[in-house]
Symmetry: C2
Subunit: 155 residues, 2 copies
Amino acid sequence: MGGHGLDQQISLSNIVEMEKKLRHISGAIKQSGRKILHHYPITSPQFIALQWLLEEGDLTIGELSQKNGLAFSTTTDLVDRMEKNGLVLRTRDTNDRRVVRIQVLDKGKKIIKEVIRKRQAYLGDVLETFSESEKDTLNELLTKLHEQMKIINDQ
Amino acid sequence: MGGHGLDQQISLSNIVEMEKKLRHISGAIKQSGRKILHHYPITSPQFIALQWLLEEGDLTIGELSQKNGLAFSTTTDLVDRMEKNGLVLRTRDTNDRRVVRIQVLDKGKKIIKEVIRKRQAYLGDVLETFSESEKDTLNELLTKLHEQMKIINDQ
C-alpha cells in the first residue's frame, strides 16, 4: 500500500470495510442461491461443479478440482454422485484415450440454465434501484476485482 | 427493469455479465478463504458462524440459523462441534433464563481475528492496482449492493 500517515489509515479502513462487505455479499448471494437450488435436485457443490463444466467445457477430475479448490478425492465423490443422478457422464478424450473427461448431460444443462436464469432475475431485482451508470461502473470495477483475484489466487 | 428495446437489451446483458462475475468473485473469495483456514483448526461453516456471533453478539441457535440460512438441526450440530473444540459456550440469557445463547470463547475470538486479518491482507493485495478513487467508488457501490440484497433476501 502506497500512502503515508493519514492516507494510509484511510486506505486501511477502506480495506477493512470492504473485506466485511464482500464477505457479507458472498453470504447473501450464497443464501439466495441456496433458496433457488431448493427447487432443484442438485446441491450447492454440484451447482458450482456443473457451472464450471458448462463454462470451461469437459474438464478432467484434476482440472475441476483445481477450479473448485477442492481435493481430488472430494471431486471424485462429487462426480460419482452427479453421474448416478444422470447429470454428467465420464467419457474418454477423443485425442487421448487415457484421459477421462466429465461431460454435462442434457438434464444437467437444463437445470443449470434455469438456476442461472433465476440468479439473474434475483440480481435484476437487487440492481433495480441502481442507475445505468452505477451498473456500468459496478460492472467495470467487479471485472477489475475479479481479474486481480485470479492473478493473486494463482500465485 | 425500465428501458425499451436496445436499452433493455444492454441492461439485461449487463445483468447476465454481473451475475457471472459476482458468482466467480464469490468463488475466488471462498477459495482464498479456504486457503487461509487451512492453517487454523476450524472449518468454513464454523468460520461463518463465529464471525456472525462476534459481529452480532451472543445469538440463539434460532437467530444463528436464520443468519446462516441453515436448518436449526444443522446449526445445532455446528454449535455442538464448536463447543467440543472450546470455541464457544452455551450460556443462559441473563434476562430470560429459558433462552440459551452462544458465547464465543477467547480461543474462538483469537482465531477469527487472525483469519479476518489475513483476509484483509489478501484484499489489500487484490486492490493494490486500484486508485483511491476506484476503491472509494467500489466501496460505495458494494454498500448499496449489500443494502439491496438484505432488503430482497428478507422479502
